[in-house]
């Protein structure tokens, strides 16, 4: 089952996992040690993160390491940028309006 990136970051534990492995790739056991929840719960979060393609697995010898897909994180950034643009557009309109109102006021 595929999920979107925002579902991936909607959960606080998953956000913590992202922060953790942003610094370096880690094994599931090493990740689980940072949380009070069960190993099973952490695995489930890792699975969701993998399905959302925010993290990828890499086999190194006998161990599996999880690492962050930086490109995917950039999508979140890009997404927010659109929201920022809405505000920019909105405020540009307000700037123009304020300047019109000011001119009208000065004429009177």
């Amino acid at each position: 089952m595929r999920r979107d990136i925002f579902q991936a970051i909607a959960d606080p534990t998953r956000r913590a996992i992202i922060t953790l492995i942003a610094l370096q790739a880690m094994t599931p056991n090493a990740i689980a040690e940072h949380f009070d929840t069960t190993r099973q719960a952490v695995s489930k979060h890792l699975r969701i993160l993998t399905e959302c393609e925010l993290v990828k697995q890499e086999q190194k010898g006998r161990e599996i390491y999880y690492e962050l897909e930086i490109e995917k994180m950039k999508e979140i950034d890009k997404w927010l940028e659109q929201f920022r643009k809405i505000w920019e557009n909105r405020f540009d309109q307000l700037d123009n309006l304020l300047s019109t109102l000011k001119n009208k006021k000065n004429e009177n």
């Binding site: 979107d4 999508e75 997404w79 929201f83 809405i86 909105r90 307000l94 304020l98």
Partner: protein, 164 residues
């Protein structure tokens, strides 16, 4: 003369809050009016090519603004803002929600608590807005809605993002 006006946009995912700070080259009472009088608000609130159309606005504590964002094809998205606190020219707060045309709140849609602070220095008015959502999913849904309203042309891109 075009002065450089501050514009900050940040998102705190931990508290599911969006912060928008902006300066305006006008005095505080003019900027206050632009945010609180429906006839002025409707002239800028909707990002192009959308239009804001306020059905009514009782700007008082306990009062409500009921308005629509109207798209280029005539599509309408109705919203409600319930004013919870007003300190004239300095601050006002409201809770927003999406609604039907008959003013019924869509409970399954995200809602947020808005706080707007106004202050003036040397003829430049600063507006500080914080938009706090109950949970991060709501914030994301809101962003998605705003995105939809503001950028119909890029909806395909949105669909692509959701699929990935």
């Amino acid at each position: 003369m075009k002065i450089n006006l501050l514009f900050d946009f940040t998102v705190d995912k931990k508290t599911s809050t969006v912060f928008v700070n902006r300066e305006f080259d006008a005095d505080q009472s003019m900027v206050w009016d632009a945010f609180t009088k429906q006839e002025i608000l409707d002239q800028w609130w909707a990002p192009q090519p959308w239009k804001s159309r306020t059905k009514y606005m009782n700007f008082e504590e306990g009062g409500r603004r009921f308005y629509a964002m109207v798209g280029p094809e005539g599509e309408e998205h109705w919203s409600i803002q319930d004013f919870t606190s007003i300190s004239p020219k300095e601050n006002f707060q409201f809770k927003d929600a999406f609604a039907d045309t008959d003013e019924t709140i869509k409970e399954q849609m995200p809602s947020a608590n808005w706080n707007l602070d106004f202050s003036e220095t040397d003829g430049i008015t600063t507006v500080k807005i914080s938009i706090k959502h109950a949970k991060l999913e709501d914030l994301e849904m809101h962003i998605q809605m705003g995105f939809k309203e503001g950028f119909t042309a890029t909806l395909n891109h949105l669909a692509e993002l959701l699929k990935s």
